[in-house]
């Protein structure tokens, strides 16, 4: 799923696809769902240099772009990869933006919900963090948490050791860890001011962008799998893909898959160019809508077998149902878009859209 003619991205795409194809098996996903941490997979991904695409090379990263991250994260979605890769990419970018050291190992970010806030307070020449952050992805398996918080109107990024939080475990529909972290004057390893392009809402925005790409990747897998299934499954003496009703369902799935992929890619490109908040809102709203439709079509054409745990389809559809709600559902981002456009006025819609 490369975009444009960038050869490096095409090579990167091949690398991640090969790695995930080899390592992300049904057994691995199943083990992850019962709480096992896939350490060999994590190590391979880290060694391949996929976890820190936006961290400068001098700090141990790949020194790449959001478009590179897009390739990696879309592939992670396409393979339903059960590690906090998107979260680590975002957390390490935040650290790099604030000129903070980037540790090895899995990272996560907090807070991830609109109404949660963590407080940073100065302490003994350093900082402490307090507050409750719910639904933190891989809050128990990540080694460090990257916190974004406003201090006296200034956006700060802080690196906190995961052991500093009291953890209440929880999971999403796809049985991915989603923890509640409680910090009580927990000590901060390092903290620094974020540059202007990183607002306090950065975890929400960029988290939504990353989930959009993961969902677009999952949709691409579901389309390919659905086409494969309907050409193999025979009823009434022919492959069910020969029936017009099935063909039209999959044509619709193909359209929404293409739209989702382009909407997500557009957000990542915007992130490389400047303020991507508009494109991210568009992406999460558009991809989230496609996700619901796609899950419904894919299950319908798969029949009863697709409803079993044994069939791989459920790894994808359960993720989609969770991911579309995380970092703001379609209604959240649509409302933000609608309010933004309405405040500019009808006459501004077209000029605004064409100027992005």
């Amino acid at each position: 799923m490369t975009h444009g003619t960038d050869e490096l991205q095409s090579i990167l795409g091949d690398v991640v696809t090969r790695l995930f194809t080899d390592l992300v098996t049904v057994e691995l996903r199943t083990a992850a769902e019962s709480g096992a941490w896939p350490s060999a997979l994590w190590q391979a991904v880290e060694e391949a240099g996929l976890t820190l695409p936006l961290v400068p090379e001098r700090s141990g990263g790949a020194g790449g772009t959001w478009r590179d991250a897009h390739v990696v994260v879309t592939a992670a979605g396409r393979h339903a990869v059960p590690i906090p890769l998107a979260e680590t990419i975002l957390a390490s970018w935040l650290l790099a933006e604030a000129d903070l050291p980037v540790p090895q190992g899995p990272l996560t970010i907090a807070p991830v919900r609109r109404d949660d806030a963590l407080r940073l307070t100065p302490h003994d020449g350093g900082w402490q963090v307090s507050g409750i952050a719910g639904r933190v992805p891989w809050g128990a398996s990540a080694q460090h948490v990257v916190v974004v918080s406003s201090v006296d109107g200034r956006v700060m990024v802080a690196l906190v050791a995961a052991g500093q939080a009291r953890v209440e475990t929880d999971r999403n529909l796809a049985l991915e860890p989603r923890e509640t972290l409680t910090f009580d004057r927990a000590s901060v390893i390092a903290a620094g001011p974020a540059p202007e392009r990183v607002p306090a809402s950065a975890p929400m925005y960029y988290g939504a962008m990353l989930r959009s790409a993961q969902m677009a990747g999952a949709l691409a897998w579901m389309l390919a799998q659905s086409v494969r299934y309907v050409t193999e499954r025979r009823q009434f003496g022919k492959a069910i893909g020969a029936f017009q009703a099935i063909q039209h369902s999959l044509a619709l799935l193909a359209g929404h898959t293409a739209a989702a992929d382009l909407a997500a890619a557009n957000a990542f490109r915007a992130a490389d160019r400047g303020d991507p908040s508009f494109e991210i809102a568009v992406a999460k709203a558009r991809v989230g809508e496609a996700a619901g439709l796609a899950a419904s079509i894919a299950h319908q054409v798969h029949g009863a077998i697709g409803f079993t745990y044994e069939h791989e389809l459920q790894f994808y559809t359960r993720r989609l149902w969770s991911w579309r709600a995380e970092f703001g559902a379609e209604s959240h981002w649509s409302e933000a878009l609608g309010r933004g456009i309405a405040s500019l006025g009808a006459h501004a819609l077209w000029p605004y859209v064409t100027a992005r």
Binding site: M1, G4, V227, L250, D261, R339, G345
Partner: protein
């Protein structure tokens, strides 16, 4: 499976000055057009307007200069087009010729035909109609029965074309006729012709659509003589030529912008502080609009690169027309206003206009069912 994908496209920065020029032009020409008139979208027919567009060099933009074209890029043409459509400009007098008849002649026409027609098209002086459907041949185009028989110096044509938009105010019709019958191959024996709409034996009868307007026609041909030099391409290659032409017909921004006037009226109605419900509904439509535009630009980029984005064009048209049709449903659901023809508020009238025209969006230029069949074929299912 699927060999189709959309690369993220980009309009080059130099198109921005062109965009500004087009906006200024439209501001001047359509300044007094109200929303209801703009809602007519690309159905509006105005030869004087088309001549002005031609004078600006915005018809046949990509064609060679020797035929009156301007040798500009497909992406520059795209910018002109989307600005015209977003403003609801009355483009239909030059639109068909610019979009498909001209490109068809450039690709398959004789040198003489190009010399004779193309530069007049670029000046906005020639209007074309498309004669494909017949009373018994809609989606199943290969079943057409209008026959062109060889006679001395040309062909004698008998049959009936239907749903021929603007035939009554066009100069020529590019029509598909049967020149031979091969029971083993329905797609063989079809040929395209340029037909002078003032030919003896040709009768144009109006078909009034459900909005009460007259765009459609029935074109009856009784022993109409078509000179041999009006055959387009080669005899028997009509099916291949028409398929190429339809890619142009399906690929443009007109396939998602037909109802934009209503979206603008909705925003005007609830701005600047919409209810939560209205904000969500508008934002969702904007997310679709922006994504469809990206898809459409992507297709324009493929055309620009000389590719044949047939499949991608079908995807854009399927999603785009669904979006166009949804807007009136969203407005109805949100506001519950009675749609109207010529009374009530401007919003009610724009709603009425779009609602009445909406069924045609997924019929014209290939029905939704035909498009999904094309996409399914691309997926390897047919």
């Amino acid at each position: 499976m699927a060999t189709f994908h959309f690369d993220l496209g980009d309009l080059p920065p130099e198109t921005e000055s062109l965009r500004t020029e087009v906006r200024e032009f439209l501001q001047e020409e359509l300044g007094d057009f109200g929303p209801v008139r703009r809602a007519g979208s690309w159905g509006g027919f105005d030869r004087a307007f088309s001549k002005k567009v031609g004078a600006r060099g915005w018809i046949g933009m990509t064609w060679p200069k020797q035929y009156g074209g301007h040798e500009r890029s497909a992406l520059e043409r795209y910018v002109v087009l989307e600005e015209m459509l977003a403003a609801g400009a009355p483009v239909s007098a030059h639109w068909i010729a610019d979009r498909q008849s001209g490109p068809l002649l450039l690709r398959f026409g004789t040198e003489e035909q190009r010399q004779r027609f193309l530069s007049r098209i670029t000046r906005g002086e020639l209007t074309f109609a498309i004669g494909m459907s017949e009373p018994d041949s809609g989606s199943d185009l290969a079943s057409i029965r209008t026959r062109a028989e060889r006679v001395d110096g040309g062909y004698r044509v008998n049959g009936t074309k239907v749903w021929t938009s603007n035939a009554h105010r066009s100069d020529y019709m590019i029509a598909l006729f049967r020149t031979a019958t091969d029971p083993a191959n329905r797609h063989a024996g079809l040929t395209q012709f340029l037909v002078d709409l003032r030919s003896p034996g040709l009768t144009i009868r109006p078909i009034v659509d459900l909005t009460g307007e007259h765009h459609f026609n029935m074109v009856m041909l009784e022993d109409v003589f078509v000179p041999a030099d009006m055959l387009v391409g080669s005899e028997g290659s009509g099916w291949m030529q028409v398929s190429a032409e339809l890619a142009f017909e399906r690929s443009g921004p007109e396939r998602y912008l037909s109802s934009i006037a209503l979206l603008l009226e909705l925003i005007r109605e609830v701005a600047p502080e919409p209810s939560e419900r209205a904000a969500v509904a508008i934002g969702r439509l904007v997310a679709h609009l922006v994504t469809l535009r990206q898809m459409s630009i992507s297709v324009a980029g493929m055309l620009h690169a000389g590719q044949n984005p047939n499949l991608e064009a079908a995807v854009v048209k399927d999603l785009g027309t669904t979006f166009e049709q949804e807007i009136s449903e969203v407005v109805h659901g949100l506001l519950g206003l009675e749609p109207s023809v010529d009374h009530g508020t401007e919003l009610q009238q724009v709603l009425g206009s779009v609602m009445e025209r909406a069924p045609s969006f997924s019929l014209r230029g290939g029905t939704r069912e035909i498009l999904r069949g094309i996409i399914a074929r691309g997926l390897g299912l047919r």
